[in-house]
Symmetry: C2
Subunit: 342 residues, 2 copies
């Protein structure tokens, strides 16, 4: 746990420090932002740890190390060449930057869904675009066995682990049971732990936490607009997203037919996080909106019945830039040798 807490602190240390402090504008805007329902990633390590920890599957260093390997291990897939990181690339904002995910045998996602970012996914109330999964541990199992994604069977995953001594020992050590047979659920639990640590504090967080004036005038104007225009009614909390909401509220989404996804049974769709949104293009659940400015403009129309002017869009986009966060350094794992052969 100590090591994880240290790891969590790293991105904060990499954030630039600024000395301009606490002019009146700044403190008023911070107060307004907090009251609007927005929140920030706390720099206090103990508080942050509590926030991302899950009592049912506590974060430990051993789970983190194992989960990281599994996250990068393409041998979990049926083909042997697709890993979690293929679609949720930690080097590219936690996404694949293509409209819809491509998986096993070059299948596209059947509903043309766009790969959501894994960074800060821990702050989402639910997982998947239709919110069908309660947490990262549960979510992580899905793509491994989904036909158009990693296409593995439960048996493949479990046999692979049983025949990979380095993994088997790690699971058994964690379970404190020398005869334990790891399951797909256990694999999800480990990957979930690793994913919980993928948080990316940004200049916005620094601003909110310390009052340091690290946002530009335009970014602050954008933040004001973001609140005043009502974007914050869905994009709120620490994740600036993560709840289920009706989409669209007004009119028709012009790319609705691409994939035909309509959300959960109540036609609710998960609000994506805006953290690192400059990196996570293309946008919307079906990845059909290419630019951030179009995404903002359309959101105004579809969710707020508002025509945002070009200058407003530009200011809001500017604020969204400040949400680009620092990523935790990740050592690319050397995968344990396996005796499993397909």
């Amino acid at each position: 746990m100590k090591k994880i807490i240290m790891l969590l602190a790293l991105p904060f240390m990499l954030l630039a420090n600024e000395s301009n402090k606490d002019n009146n504008d700044t403190s008023a805007l911070i107060k307004k932002t907090k009251e609007s329902g927005l929140n920030h990633i706390p720099e206090d390590r103990a508080i942050l740890f509590e926030l991302i920890n899950k009592p049912k599957n506590p974060l430990t260093e051993a789970k983190f190390i194992l989960g990281k390997k599994l996250y990068f291990d393409s041998r979990l897939s049926k083909s042997g060449i697709i890993s979690c990181n293929t679609c949720h690339n930690l080097g590219a904002g936690g996404v694949d930057n293509i409209p819809t995910a491509i998986g096993h045998e070059w299948s596209k996602n059947p509903k043309h869904l766009n790969s959501p970012t894994v960074y800060n996914a821990v702050f989402m109330e639910k997982q998947f675009w239709d919110g069908r999964s309660p947490d990262l541990e549960d979510q992580a199992q899905g793509p491994i066995v989904a036909g158009p994604e990693m296409a593995a069977s439960k048996e493949h995953v479990e046999n692979f682990i049983m025949n990979t001594p380095g993994y088997l020992k790690a699971f058994r050590d964690i379970k404190e049971d020398a005869d334990y047979k790891p399951t797909l659920k256990d694999v999800g639990d480990m990957i979930g732990v690793f994913e919980r640590t993928l948080i990316t504090p940004s200049r916005y967080d620094k601003f909110m936490e310390t009052g340091d004036d690290v946002l530009s005038k335009k970014e602050k104007k954008g933040l004001n607009l973001f609140i005043d225009r009502g974007c914050v009614s869905c994009h709120n909390g620490i994740g600036l997203g993560g709840s289920m909401q009706v989409f669209p509220v007004y009119g028709k989404y012009k790319y609705a037919d691409i994939g035909g996804f309509e959300g959960d049974k109540n036609k609710m769709i998960k609000v994506p996080t805006l953290r690192n949104v400059v990196e996570t293009y293309p946008y919307y659940h079906n990845g059909s909106v290419k630019t951030l400015s179009e995404a903002i403009k359309l959101m105004g129309e579809l969710q707020l019945d508002t025509n945002l002017t070009d200058s407003e869009v530009s200011d809001i986009e500017s604020f969204l830039n400040s949400l680009e966060g620092v990523k935790m350094p990740v050592k690319y794992p050397i995968l344990p040798k396996t005796n499993y052969r397909n």
Copy 2:
């Protein structure tokens, strides 16, 4: 250069130290091994640097950093999801562990060729199974624009670099030319530099360099057999492979029809390195041999007209285990933001 030399030293430091030194058997075997044409990776950093450096494209830290990013950057591919690391996975012995490479739109390699390892590829005399490429810089360009692999066009690559400010600046700094327009060849040059550093010293190297008795009795028996039986006639040098040789010399390779690859115009095929061979399964140019023991047995028949006994195969396999090397720690790169859109 200083930093690269430090990086190169890291794997040696991670190799276990042993105190048993220089009994007679050991020194005699080292002498015999050297005389047989085998060589080892020198621990002396300056000598090693000279060995992997290429005067026409000298190793520098700036090129290394840029080349590493490009190596992991799937945006170089047409689809956006295939990088060098997809088939030459640094976490998995530098290969994909599948019989034949899978690339763009799930194409298999047209000749059913198996992805060779990138680790220690710097020690190969030529690149590709038919040896058509003289060095890593040249080789690295190939798969990026090969239809069944990354399927990019030269224009895609060059436009992508031009529209990725972080890359453009890095190239221009390296070229010391503020207006420079990087080419596909430059991309290959940078990736080549990164790949040159991917060497993996092993217990075998420690044994040869220091005389420390870090090989087991069985491994030494295997090394003796490897020399006496003639394996060393092709698998020699530092790379334990890397030259072009006739294949097969005797009889018919039973999986020859899979892909129908016959080598270069003289029916010569590049001898693969045996370094990390326990990790680089499946074997042979078309990846049709599943186990290392079968690979050894078959080699005896096809190249040496010899029937190796099971016990000889087992001893040689044991020696090959000692060639598993320590890999340089690689920080997974955060890729520079791009304005390029497909």
